[in-house]
Symmetry: C2
Subunit: 313 residues, 2 copies
């Protein structure tokens, strides 16, 4: 059985045993939407990498995926998002109160699976707080005029990257990896997660809409402070160019996204972002190389990282 099959089977089984009612139905709905299941995959792969059995980490793999979906349920309320994975968000399909409460119960459900080993629970709680801190920074940044690049990196590290690190470290802890290797696999996850998120920013701007399934430059049109816009404004300011500021001064619907993209290209910001992605990938691979584990065992994680990095959407 592949990890993917194992995870999907465990999720389906979990959903079926949920009690009836409005508290649990939204959990089954959200968990049932098609998803890549990257985080539970990382739990199982890290467990096997260090000589553990994937079966022994399956509960925690599900727990991480439940936690991730809990954050999606609540983030979608905060962002007033109508769609998630191409379907209605929970607060749209039910209502805001149901999404708050069902999300709360989903976090408890995640802990039921993460709480069997105190050291895993402690690891998980630390990272769970990081994810909340990242979401808080994201909301804070929306209200601010200026965000520095270092602040943006700190935010995506907390909001996105650390949960990949958490998944890997949980799998490693279950397999009994050494403290050093547990930290190294965490570093691999963080670098990979940062690179993944920056690649996402790049795809939103420069990706092929036919392949990403999203409108090109959606983040730029919305004035969202990603790597590209933050760095673009910095470099443009230093070069005395005002095109980006001029576009941002317009209402979102009237912004000329193609002009913004051309400026970012012209200023070398696209190239800089691509270098940052490559640097992240490189650091991730270095952390993986440093693990005190036979090289052949690292192949599955290398393949997953390559797949994540090569994705067009």
């Amino acid at each position: 059985m592949t990890h993917q099959t194992r995870i999907e089977a465990r999720i389906a089984e979990w959903s079926q045993q949920l009690p009836q009612g409005n508290l649990y139905a939204p959990m089954a709905y959200l968990m049932g939407l098609p998803a890549k299941r990257v985080r539970p995959m990382l739990v199982l792969m890290a467990c096997e990498l260090f000589g553990g059995k994937a079966e022994d980490a399956l509960d925690e793999a599900l727990g991480i995926e439940l936690f991730h979906n809990f954050t999606l349920m609540h983030d979608d309320i905060m962002d007033a998002a109508p769609l998630r994975r191409g379907h209605a968000t929970v607060h749209e399909k039910w209502d805001v109160n149901t999404a708050i409460l069902s999300g709360d119960a989903m976090l408890v459900k995640a802990y039921q699976l993460m709480g069997k080993r105190p050291e895993v629970a402690a690891l998980f709680s630390g990272y769970a707080l990081n994810v909340c801190e990242g979401q808080q920074l994201d909301m804070d940044f929306e209200r601010r005029d200026q965000v520095a690049l270092a602040e943006y990196r700190a935010m995506i590290r907390l909001k996105t990257a650390v949960l990949l690190a958490c998944a890997l470290r949980v799998g490693a802890a279950i397999a009994g990896a050494s403290v050093e290797d547990n930290e190294r696999i965490g570093a691999f996850g963080e670098h990979l997660g940062l690179a993944f998120q920056l690649r996402d920013d790049l795809l939103d701007a420069f990706g092929d809409p036919a392949r990403t399934g999203k409108q090109q430059g959606g983040d730029l049109r919305a004035g969202k402070k990603t790597f590209l816009l933050i760095r673009g404004l910095e470099v443009a300011g230093a070069a005395g160019r005002n095109e980006l500021r001029d576009e941002l001064a317009k209402p979102a619907g009237l912004r000329d996204v193609h002009r913004m993209l051309a400026v970012l290209e012209d200023l070398g910001v696209r190239a800089e972002a691509e270098r940052a992605v490559e640097a992240g990938e490189h650091s991730a691979m270095q952390a993986l190389d440093a693990l005190a584990v036979e090289d052949a065992r690292k192949a599955p994680l290398r393949a997953l990282a390559a797949k994540l990095m090569a994705r067009s959407r």
Copy 2:
């Protein structure tokens, strides 16, 4: 040092070490509002009852109080409540998104304290889900025309009573109480919690506003389906009396609360509710009596129960 002093000191210390920022400030604010701290008291008292040291249960006592305050933070959003303990609710003082996210992080913080012992974590998670289920029923009932008395009792059991049981059982578990005694102390907490909530319903209706600090009959005016209104409508229906229905048909602001109170008194519903409170207290005391613990050690819990039951607000 009294338990009360110990708990307040631990809360103050905990609040002071929180990081800066909008994620943590609402937690310190809510935890800093004056409160009775019944649940953490129960953790410490149950721990001592079974021969443990209160110091050893102080983290879990704080964890239960954090969980309780997390539920208040989110419940207040769902109920659109402007005030909590006489002060602005978190979503009023900050905003809804901050209250959602800070509450989420508060639940994680609670788990950091409850997760040190897997058996305590498992106990806690089960009850935490019960509390969510109770809040869900409460919201479901608001949208329904009719709620049976048994359903109402099931709801307040989940929403209120079980957390008292949880607090006591956590304290008992830390002290190493037997399985039988752990269940008995849980039964004591549940009966006490049910009686406590029914007493609260009675006080809202028949309490002296000068002592409760609340407008008399606020629940009745709002048409809230408490024991009194549910049972009142049942008994009135059987007796062919329409006063309660007539008042409920009016807009909330025009309802004659004193007429409703007189009807409830006249139909014997007030007396019935008082008997239900007494029955709950009696069952609680029976559960306490049955504990395989020297009787003198039970005195502090008996005193706390008496104080809770005699309270005027």
